[in-house]
Subunit: 255 residues, 2 copies
DNA sequence: TAGTGGTCTAGACCACCCG
DNA sequence: GGGTGGTCTAGACCACTAG
């Protein structure tokens, strides 16, 4: 088996040499990618089991007749991808499969609406400087009564409200925030245009619609709502918090 | 500015040489990481703007007095991380910041419960072979009446139901699925132990609790529920679908 | 044709782990 | 001390893009 693979690889090497005479035959992939596939094949075929040790770089260099840097790059990338686990001075092992890490990718509201072939619009209900209430001050880690920007936007699909955005933004970092017209640019886009490396954290919950939600979302009946609480940071500095309310409808997918 | 950085880097080089005399002074990082930081600093300070071209590998080699492989590794990793965009024959550019891609990372239920310091347990209500109903057959892309494994589990935190798992699993791929004791092993862990490369897709929605949910989740009042519909694949082959119901409570965060 | 990024090599030094 | 992975170099050949 190993011998067979060695042969295959030396054949590939020949093809590469042929290819260098500018006679592209069948697009041989880079060697490091072949090594990655070689390792993946052994894992998928169960020949190399989870947690077991795979050949060292030195052994793969000998087996596949490549330089150590090429082998190393392949193994390093597989390690970055979570397939392998490497321990200096010990060896390279098959990593345990990731378990239970469930990732949801929620597109922004405008892309989501337009991707459904619908018309996107929004109405900015408030966009002003407010003194902080005691409750909000607690959440934001600020003092009661301090000034903060508050923005309240209803996002619509074909004119029908689909999402309520209730946002607090700290004035220190982005003083021109309050002058923006958020019917023209999404708040997230504005942040992305001003700050190079944003990060977010999120908290997901469900709640029944309140009177306030009924009013702005044009609802008649009590409706379960998905509530996404998002904080936006630039490095370790909090920029903004948002409560995003999606009244009871399927709204997100992928990955 | 550039000169200053070159100086800083040659100083680091000296430190590295000192360090090689086994006198670790202040843990100098690998050169390629210094290059990454060098680039990131220029981006964060706005010195290099979005979409603008940054110095070529050759220029960075001269500026920072490093080998091209080291420069190349730094720029390649930043490209993989989405910070840069490289075009062969043209140059290296600052990538546009990712916008609106909101990612939620939901831990598995057992880790979630235990991470809160609570006691995890579960009850398997059904675990049997069922003929497919017309509606479920449609969702799964199978024929009505075909046999399928159905598993119905109530997950509990300190004895109180917190999540309902209603799962259909195709019998072809994992014939010993039906013999598992899912009070001992999470279904996701079982899949991970049998299939090397799993992927999932998800759909999120909210719904009001039904009579069925009231009964199994020990609810008295109608409650909004978060419903996560998850499909599990091995390559392009569907393994299992699950409806995961979390009655109205905060349940997930991070990233 | 000159400059760019993509890949690959052969060799080197290092920190780390283990017997 | 011998084997492992982590890093780095100097040089090479290539495909690609643009003037």
């Amino acid at each position: 088996m190993c011998e067979q693979l060695t042969l295959r690889n030396s054949e590939m090497h020949k093809k590469k040499l042929q290819n260098s005479k500018s006679i592209p035959i069948d697009d041989p992939k880079p060697l490091y990618q072949q090594v990655k596939k070689h390792v993946m094949d052994h894992i998928q075929s169960r020949e190399w089991e989870v947690h077991s040790r795979i050949p060292s770089e030195h052994e793969l260099v000998a087996e596949l007749s490549m330089s150590r840097m090429t082998i190393h790059r392949a193994l390093r990338e597989l390690t970055q991808e979570g397939v392998l686990k490497r321990i200096q001075g010990v060896g390279t092992f098959i990593a345990a499969p990731k378990q239970g890490a469930t990732v949801l990718n929620i597109p922004n509201i405008k892309d989501y609406v337009t991707s459904r072939g619908s018309n996107y619009s929004c109405v900015v209900q408030f966009h002003q400087t407010d003194p902080l209430s005691a409750k909000d001050a607690l959440t934001l880690g600020l003092k009661e009564g301090e000034d903060i920007y508050r923005t309240y936007i209803i996002h619509k699909e074909n004119g029908i409200p689909v999402m309520l955005e209730d946002r607090f933004t700290l004035p220190d970092m982005l003083p021109d925030y309050i002058n923006q017209d958020f019917t023209k640019i999404l708040v997230d886009y504005f942040f992305a245009s001003r700050c190079a490396f944003l990060n977010h954290d999120h908290q997901l919950s469900v709640q029944m619609s309140t009177q306030e939600i009924h009013h702005f979302m044009e609802l008649d009946l009590p409706t379960p709502c998905l509530c996404l609480y998002r904080r936006t940071w630039s490095g370790n500095t909090l920029l903004s918090t948002a409560r995003l309310l999606y009244p009871g409808q399927k709204f997100a997918l992928t990955c």
